[in-house]
Symmetry: C2
Subunit: 392 residues, 2 copies
C-alpha cells in the first residue's frame, strides 16, 4: 500500500500548521472544530511555502494590477488604517504602507507570517505594518479600519471560498463607508474552441478504460477474482475526472468565440455571506456572428479597483484573468463539451449556469450548465443539454 497522500509537489510543500483557537460559528465549513482542523490542514498548507508565494508574486498581471491600484490611488491610503486579509509574504501590506497608510494590519494564518514580518522590517516599514498570525476570524483589533485589501480570488473567482472570510472581516472591522480593494469582482463566461485539448482528454479517458478491461481480464485469469461489479464505478470515477471536470487552461484570445458574458457581479462593499455561497441558475446567452465550432465553455473573472460611488478611486484599475491579455496564474477554467457544437453565424448559444459548493469540500465547486444552440431564425437547433461538472 502506498498512497502518497502527503506528498505535495514543489508548489505545495507542507509546513507545520497550528489551529490555536476555534469559534465553530465562524468556520468556513460550518462544522465543528474537527471539520475546521481538517479544512485548515488541507487549505493552508501550500500557502506556507515560499515557492508558492513566489509563483503568485511572479504573476505580473496580478502584481501590476494591485501595485497600480494601491500606489496610483495613494491619496486614498494617506493616513488611513488598512487591513490586509491573508497577507502571505506581506507585499500588499508593504505597498499600502508606502502609499501612506498610517497603520496596516497584515493578517496571515500560516507560518509565512514570520517571513512577512522580516520582509516588512527589511523594507523599513516596521513602524507601520503589523503582521498578525491568526485566522482572520480570530482577529482582534483595537479599532476598525478604513480600507481592506486582499488577494482572495480563486479559479473562476469563487474557488477556495476565501471570500467568506473576507466578508466576515469586512462586516466586523471595516468602518461604514470604508473601501474594499478590489471593490467589485465579476465572473465571466465564454464560448471557446479548444478542440485539441477536448479530444486529448477524451482519449485519456478511453485509454484508462482500455487499461481497466485488461486489468479485469488479468485479475480474473491470474487471481480468480471477477472485478466486473466495480466496472461501472470505475467508469464513473474516470468519466468524472476526464470528462465531467473543468481544467485549468491558458487560452489564446483567438480561441474565444463571440463576446464573453457576465455570470455574476459581486460588489465587495455590500455582498453578504449568503451571496457568496455560489451562483443560482443564471441565464447566459452568447450570439455568434460567424459560423463556429464550439468545443466548450470557459469561466474566469475580472476584479475592479474602482472604490465606491461616494469615494471613487482617482485611478481605477481592472485586473482581468480572461484570455485577452495573456498569462495569469489563474488562467481559465475550461468545461469541455462531450460533442462539439457547430453554431451557424447569426445564431447563438443560450442556457443557464449555476455554481454550487461541493458538500464534501466547500472550498470546491460544481458547475451545472444547461445549453442549446439557437438558429438565426430563432428556432432551437439542438435539444437542451444539461451537464454537471466538478470544478476541482
Amino acid at each position: 500500500m502506498d498512497a502518497r497522500p502527503p506528498t505535495p509537489p514543489a508548489e505545495e510543500m507542507d509546513s507545520s500548521i497550528g489551529v490555536e483557537s476555534v469559534d465553530p460559528k465562524l468556520t468556513v465549513m460550518g462544522g465543528g472544530p474537527k471539520e475546521q482542523a481538517s479544512d485548515y490542514a488541507n487549505y493552508f498548507c501550500s500557502y506556507a511555502s515560499l515557492y508558492h508565494q513566489k509563483q503568485m508574486l511572479t504573476d505580473h498581471r496580478r502584481m501590476q494590477a494591485y501595485y497600480s491600484a494601491i500606489t496610483d490611488n495613494a491619496e486614498l491610503f494617506a493616513g488611513k488604517r488598512v487591513l490586509d486579509v491573508g497577507t502571505g509574504s506581506g507585499i500588499l501590506a508593504l505597498w499600502a504602507a508606502k502609499a501612506g497608510a498610517s497603520k496596516v494590519y497584515a493578517v496571515e494564518f500560516t507560518d509565512m507570517a514570520n517571513h512577512a514580518r522580516r520582509l516588512v522590517a527589511k523594507n523599513g516599514m516596521e513602524g507601520v505594518v503589523e503582521v498578525i498570525q491568526c485566522s482572520v476570524e480570530d482577529l482582534k483589533l483595537d479599532a476598525k479600519v478604513d480600507i481592506i485589501i486582499s488577494e482572495w480570488m480563486g479559479y473562476f473567482l469563487l474557488r477556495e471560498s476565501m471570500l467568506d472570510s473576507l466578508v466576515r472581516a469586512r462586516d466586523r472591522w471595516l468602518v461604514p463607508g470604508g473601501l474594499m480593494f478590489p471593490s467589485r469582482c465579476t465572473m465571466m463566461w465564454g464560448l471557446v474552441n479548444d478542440e485539441q485539448d477536448r479530444l486529448s482528454k477524451q482519449q485519456e479517458y478511453i485509454r484508462t478504460m482500455q487499461d481497466w478491461y485488461s486489468f479485469k481480464g488479468e485479475t480474473k485469469e491470474f487471481y480468480g477474482v471477477d472485478m466486473t461489479v466495480l466496472e461501472a464505478v470505475y467508469e464513473e470515477e474516470q468519466r468524472g475526472y476526464y470528462i465531467l471536470s473543468s481544467f485549468w487552461a491558458e487560452l489564446d484570445k483567438g480561441q474565444v468565440l463571440g463576446e464573453p458574458a457576465v455570470v455574476q457581479t459581486f460588489d465587495m462593499h455590500t455582498c453578504t455571506l449568503e451571496d457568496v455561497q455560489g451562483v443560482d441558475e443564471t441565464n447566459v446567452s452568447i450570439p455568434l456572428e460567424e459560423d463556429a465550432r464550439v468545443s466548450g465553455f470557459a469561466g474566469w473573472f475580472t476584479a475592479d479597483f474602482h472604490g465606491t460611488e461616494a469615494n471613487p478611486c482617482p485611478c481605477p484599475v481592472t485586473l482581468s484573468t480572461g484570455p485577452e491579455n495573456g498569462y495569469t496564474h489563474w488562467g481559465q477554467q475550461v468545461f469541455h463539451l462531450q460533442v462539439p457544437h457547430d453554431v451557424v453565424g447569426g445564431g447563438k448559444v443560450e442556457g443557464t449556469i449555476a455554481v454550487k459548493r461541493q458538500k464534501e469540500n466547500v472550498r470546491l465547486y460544481d458547475v451545472h450548465i444547461k445549453h442549446k444552440n439557437v438558429l438565426p431564425t430563432g428556432e432551437d437547433k439542438s435539444p437542451l443539454v444539461s451537464v454537471k461538472y466538478a470544478m476541482p
Copy 2:
C-alpha cells in the same frame, strides 16, 4: 491567490470521509480528535478512489506474493477466523475465503468498503467475508481471530505509519500463537549509482535559484520591494526539496553497488508500538569489491510470509521491493549524495542510518545518514559526512 491545495491528480481523487467515533488514546497522531480528523482527511483520501486501488492491484509482484502466500498455504487458512486490516477493494479477504477461512473480517475506513462489499457478493463469498467500515482502532469483534492479513507497507517500509494500527489490531484481536501475514519485514539499504538522476535534481535546484535571482531583481525594480531577506529561507526550502529529500525511483539491479545491507527487521508477531516508531542510529557497512562511483543510497524493504517457528508456512513466500526483480509500485527511495564518492575496490562505505518520524506529520519520516569511505587498508579516505534527508 490560488494554491490548488485540494486538487489531487487522478490517482488521488478525493471522496467524502466520515470519522464516526474517536478514541484519542488510539490515534496515530497521539493528539486529540482535531489532530486525528486532520490526519484521517489527509491519509485516507486517496485510498477512497478505485483508480488508486487499481494501481496497487496491477502491481503484479505485490499481487503474486500475497496470492501465493495465501493460496499456497491454504491449509493454514482452512476453517480459521481471519482479519484483513485495511482491505481496500477486498481482494486479500477474498483470497483468504477461497483458501478456506471460515470467517474473514475485512476492515476498511474509506467508502471503498461499499465496493469491497459488492465485490465479495459478486464473487460468492458473502457468507464468509464480512466487510466492516471503520478504523481498525474502533473495531469490535465477538471473538479473536487466528490470522491477520494486511498490506500495510509504505515506501522504505515505514512510510504512512500504518504499522501502528496493525500492531494495535494484533494485540487486541489475534489469538495467542496466531499468525501474521506477512510475518516478518526487513528494511534494506544499498549503495547506488544513479548519477544522471542526481545531477538532474541538482540542475533543477540551480534553475530554481536562478529564477529566484531574476524574481528578486524584478520585484525590487518594478515594485519597490527588496526580497533579499527571504533569500536564505527560499534557498533552504528548495535545497530541502531537491537535494535533502529522497525520491521514488525504479532502479535497475545494475545500479546497485555491492551487497545490500539489512537496516532493521520487524517480526510482525512480536514487534511493539515502540519498535515501530522508527529506527535508531544503526551501523551499516557495505564492502565493494570493484572500484565504483557511489552517487547515493537507496532504501527498500522485503516482506516474508514464513509463519512462526511453531507454525511455519508450508510454502514460504518473500516479496522484495528491491531493484533485483523489476517494478513494484513501492520502487526504491533514493537519497542522493551532494558529491559522488569514488570508492576503491576492496574498500567499503560505512556509517549509520536513523529513520525518525516527522513531528509535523507522523505518517512521514526523516532519514539521518552518516557515512564515510574506508580504504582497503582500513584507512578512512573521507571525513564522516552527516546528512539529514526528509522522506516525503
